[in-house]
Symmetry: C2
Subunit: 142 residues, 2 copies
Amino acid sequence: MPTSTRFAVASHILTALAMTEGKPVRSEDIATSVNTSAVVIRGILSRLNDAGLTRSQLGSGGGALLARSAAEIRLLDVYAAVEDTELFAVHRTAPCTSCPVGANILDVINPALARARAALEAELGKTTIADLAGTIRELAKT
Amino acid sequence: MPTSTRFAVASHILTALAMTEGKPVRSEDIATSVNTSAVVIRGILSRLNDAGLTRSQLGSGGGALLARSAAEIRLLDVYAAVEDTELFAVHRTAPCTSCPVGANILDVINPALARARAALEAELGKTTIADLAGTIRELAKT
DNA sequence: TTATGTGTAAGTATCACTATTACATTAATT
DNA sequence: AATTAATGTAATAGTGATACTTACACATAA
């Protein structure tokens, strides 16, 4: 399964941006919060930029900003922006085409996997970055 | 990362066993159908044995068998039997505990990820090996 | 013009996965 | 009892993705 931590880190980044309402945040500062290096953060921000979720302000006083409202960024959008690999990997080499099972297994299993992926994505579509930020604000109060 | 193909291959194996009704199938023959080596198949069969989905008959004329009805083996059971890693990987190193976001992000995001995983698993629980084998029998007729 | 940050390429270490080789063990067959 | 056919598993190597680090070009505010 996908062992990339990008999805979790990207959610962390976006939530951090949502907490500062419009003030640019440096990759260095995000890196401190995530506990990694600034280059790793910038690599993920690059993907988020491409996906239209964030934008970057160059130069002194610059940093990363949300490109749209946190309420309009779903975890599904984040997932799609940073995850490369298929959720389910199938046979590395094509199965035997002259065997009854080998010739048909992919056609039979792929629809089931597609349904599972759709269910996952539907659920990821229900939570937004604003939800995460809101809950963190609640927790920070106590 | 290299995503595991074990789930797809394990489903292939079980479907093949479901097609031969009670007759043991050699790992060698399964390997031919999957287009890999017999040792890889035996490695996956070892996990399926541990999970109680299959059993093996040693010695000459032996091979792998389903340990219960194909209708009682859900894709969810297969998934659980062969998949090692968490569906969603979180931060490799713990985030900054003194930052508002870092200290709380995992507590906030984990419930959302758990819901997504539950949705995925619910969907995988709806399809059985018997379903796959049945569809393949249909396809093989034409 | 200088200082501050982003963007990105190149190189490294690590890890999971798959394939391969090798061998011990078990059981049916003769 | 000996032979043969099969599983079970350890050890090893190759591959690919991830994440970390270093380095430097580029953009912008002051």
